[in-house]
């Protein structure tokens, strides 16, 4: 893990001093704000009979406005990780510096992860507003954010890997989107296939179902294991990819 801190700080700083990170933040807050506004209008006028279907469940996973940033933000945050370094030629100096490959990969993933958390942080204010207008189960809020964190972390890991596999930021973002959106669409198969292997596979990877559970205050070990493996595996492959550059 040699060299983790300097690279982490440099990448984190680089993300926040570029206007792009803030532009992403503005778009993210606009989408989530719109999502929140719609839910307040909905629940101010009517209620659902379901026992576990309230404003929190709506906010964390009932609309496309939630999934849009969840799918788009990680590729946008990670596209520069390695692709930009390779394009600018700075990767050579990084590889020749006395830093370990896992240190480089983890530092880049952690920097984008912290940025991702910072982007989601203002949404806590929505929950505070909800608390003032109604009732909020804070334990359910915690499990909902755990879902957001796990899904985000795994998508960021995929994004870092895709950035390492391409020289262009644009290609990196496209590849990341292809994987994350593909995963999301595969999950929808849960509602398409009848009971069987295909249904089980789709429901295992279904981001929709996972968020539905997390937002209801249910933490399922299957989903936690799935996302932990989706964090570790791409980062491990990424380490091997970066190592291969060192070998020439």
């Amino acid at each position: 893990m040699t060299g983790f801190w300097p690279i982490f700080k440099r990448d984190l700083f680089a993300l926040f001093v570029t206007p792009m990170a803030w532009a992403l933040m503005v778009i993210f807050l606009l989408l989530e704000g719109l999502n929140f506004y719609w839910l307040t209008v909905h629940f101010a006028n009517q209620v659902d009979l379901a026992v576990d279907h309230g404003p929190l469940q709506w906010f964390f996973g009932e609309t496309v406005l939630f999934y849009l940033p969840l799918l788009m933000l990680p590729p946008a945050l990670t596209m520069r990780s390695f692709a930009e370094e390779r394009r600018a030629g700075t990767i050579e100096s990084l590889l020749t510096a006395p830093v370990s490959t896992p240190g480089i990969v983890l530092a880049k993933w952690c920097a984008s992860f912290v940025t991702y958390l910072v982007a989601w942080a203002p949404t806590v204010l929505y929950i505070v507003i909800l608390r003032r207008a109604g009732e909020v189960d804070w334990r359910v809020v915690a499990s909902s954010y755990l879902g957001v964190i796990l899904i985000g972390a795994s998508f960021l890991a995929i994004g870092v890997l895709m950035s390492a596999m391409s020289k262009s930021q644009f290609v990196a973002v496209l590849l990341s989107l292809a994987v994350t959106v593909g995963l999301f669409i595969l999950g929808i198969g849960e509602f398409v296939f009848d009971r069987g292997l295909a249904h089980d596979i789709c429901s295992h990877v279904s981001i929709w179902s996972q968020m539905a559970d997390f937002s209801k205050g249910q933490i399922d070990s299957r989903y936690v294991v799935f996302h932990l493996s989706l964090i570790v595996l791409p980062l491990f492959i990424c380490v091997r990819v970066v190592d291969s550059w060192r070998w020439g």
């Binding site: 001093v17 570029t18 206007p19 803030w22 532009a23 933040m25 503005v26 807050l29 606009l30 989530e32 704000g33 719109l34 929140f36 506004y37 307040t40 209008v41 629940f43 101010a44 209620v47 659902d48 009979l49 379901a50 026992v51 576990d52 279907h53 309230g54 404003p55 590889l95 020749t96 006395p98 203002p122 204010l125 507003i129 207008a133 109604g134 009732e135 189960d137 334990r139 359910v140 295992h204 539905a212 209801k216 249910q218 933490i219 399922d220 070990s221 299957r222 294991v225 799935f226 493996s229 989706l230 570790v232 595996l233 491990f236 492959i237 091997r240 190592d243 060192r246 070998w247 020439g248």
Partner: protein, 541 residues
């Protein structure tokens, strides 16, 4: 180049093939391990309930029920995927299923699998209608079945919603499902006795004018239905083994002995369903008492000797003189699925033919009206006088004026030493056509069939077998005024993104000015170095 990477190179600087192969194998192994870990985790998983109300944590009653299952139990969920209760039911069943291998769960979405749904509909005699948004809504949301027994759970059984309680929802999912599982497991079947010997409709008559269809439905619902003739044998002995008694349209009066025997059994906890249409003595041209007046009086229900005519055009069928009409239903356990939204969805109505009116009498038990006429209806006291004369029926001063109760339900207080959770129950209807076979054959009369089934379930209800308190969830409503909504719009759509935008602009401007300064510095440095080089040149020269 780092030491590590140098180690991978051979002397001539080329990466060995074995290093690449090991690396590729490592990636493949990692993928395989990730896959295996996921397969194992999918088979052996745990779910943690983070809700404050412990919505998904099973009670001891449920755990002991499902873990102790010795026979297979099938649960069929007939909810549309878009139903708000679908997710909640699915979650709970998933948790229950993780505790037993004896429970199989099938989801039959009526919208996606209409053929499969129709088959279940016919097998279990389920009523279905469509909601405003096109969803299929059934009177049974879940069917719990095991061997030859089954149990229906309606949407109303699953959740309590109270607008007066700030839109708070109380989950009864676990209670209902566990109750359903216990209901289909072994135990004693309720015994329903149908009286005979007074010209009642026959249990063995499978025609549209008999009780054969009703008997079949009762048997499908885990009841034993049998006929008892209280006129021939000792009525007290005949009633001894009955959990509930049905008197379906007698045409002659019950004797005092029979009445006393019924009263004694009902005081002891037996329930009853009396369908007492007007009885006429055609020779004397008078309306006869049923002989059950003292029994019904015990429950605060009086039987009027009259004949109801409905004069409101919206509440009667166009043909006839108003003796066939549509009584309105009042909210009660016996009218679930037929009142309010359910009625609007299914469009089912109850049809009453030849009815007497009922009264609330005495100061003890207060019966609840479940069926009543319109305000324009009246109960004709002297039916024979009008029958001889003919013409349109018109109320006289002696007649009872609407709205008239033609269905009352009452429950006695439970005896202090009783093991039952409620006392004897009695439902009295002023008409007898609700239990006839035609109600199950003619779709236009399905409202009658549903009401008869509901009444029987309520009357013969066994004591609740599970005691799981309803779980209170946070109120789903938001107390938001128009002004605060505007404030929310300003905060979430203007101030928060606006703040991020301002910070972004500030970062951009600061960076730009720093870049400008560094450019300027480099230029200056460049010009300085140019001066230096000129002087150096001069010196060289």
């Amino acid at each position: 180049m780092s030491d590590t990477s140098r180690n991978h190179r051979s002397d001539d600087g080329v990466v060995t093939r074995s290093t690449k192969a090991v690396s590729a194998l490592g990636v493949l192994a990692a993928m395989a391990i990730a896959l295996l870990v996921n397969i194992v985790s999918a088979r052996h998983y745990a779910r943690w309930d983070f809700t404050t109300a412990k919505l998904y944590t099973l009670s001891h009653a449920t755990l002991s029920t499902v873990r102790g299952l010795e026979q297979n139990v099938d649960v069929q969920v007939l909810l549309s995927a878009s139903d708000p209760l679908y997710g909640s039911v699915k979650n709970l069943l998933e948790v229950i299923r993780s505790n037993t291998t004896r429970l199989s769960v099938t989801f039959v979405d009526p919208d996606r699998y209409p053929a499969e749904f129709v088959a279940i509909q016919q097998k279990y005699d389920i009523v279905a209608g469509r909601s405003e948004d096109g969803r299929v809504v059934t009177d049974a949301a879940i069917i719990v079945a095991s061997r030859d027994r089954h149990w229906f759970i309606t949407a109303e059984d699953l959740v309590d919603f109270s607008e007066v309680d700030d839109g708070r929802t109380k989950s009864k999912l676990e209670q209902s499902i566990t109750g359903g599982i216990r209901a289909v497991l072994g135990g004693k079947r309720s015994r329903i006795c149908f009286t005979s010997g007074h010209g009642e409709y026959s249990l063995d008559d499978s025609s549209g004018q008999g009780l054969g269809e009703f008997r079949d439905r009762l048997q499908k619902n885990n009841y034993d239905a049998e006929t008892i003739d209280t006129t021939r044998s000792d009525p007290a002995k005949a009633l001894e083994a009955c959990d509930a008694v049905v008197v379906a349209g007698p045409s002659t009066a019950f004797s005092q002995t029979e009445s006393d025997a019924l009263m004694a059994r009902m005081r002891a906890g037996m329930s009853g369903f009396f369908l007492l249409n007007p009885i006429f003595d055609t020779e004397r041209k008078t309306q006869l008492p049923t002989g059950l007046e003292s029994v019904t009086r015990l429950f605060g229900i009086g039987l009027a000797n009259d004949f109801v005519f409905e004069l409101d055009d919206d509440s009667r069928v166009p043909r006839g003189t108003g003796e066939i009409f549509f009584p309105s239903l009042e909210a009660h356990a016996t009218t679930e699925g037929l009142v309010g939204l359910s009625m609007a969805v299914t469009g089912l109505r109850v049809v009453a033919i030849r009815s007497r009116s009922l009264d609330v009498v005495g100061d003890g038990v207060r019966p609840v009206t479940i069926l009543k006429t319109s305000e324009r209806a009246f109960g004709m006291k002297n039916f024979h006088a009008w029958a001889e004369k003919g013409g349109e029926p018109t109320p006289t001063v002696d007649d009872r004026r609407g709205p008239l109760a033609i269905g009352l339900a009452a429950e006695l207080a439970n005896a202090p030493d009783s093991s039952q959770t409620h006392g004897a129950r009695l439902v009295v209807l002023g008409t007898a056509n609700l239990v006839l076979g035609q109600n199950w054959r003619d779709m236009a009369l399905r409202g009658n069939a549903l009401l008869a089934g509901n009444i029987m379930s309520w009357v013969a209800a066994r004591p609740p077998i599970v005691d799981i308190p309803a779980k209170i969830t946070p109120a789903a409503t938001l107390r938001i005024t128009e002004a605060s909504l505007q404030e929310i719009v300003r905060y979430v759509l203007l101030f928060m993104p606006g703040a991020a935008l301002l910070i972004g602009v500030a970062v951009y401007l600061r960076r730009r000015s720093r870049d400008d300064r560094s450019d300027h510095g480099e230029k200056k440095k460049g010009s300085l170095s140019h001066d230096d080089s000129s002087s150096e040149n001069e010196e060289n020269r």
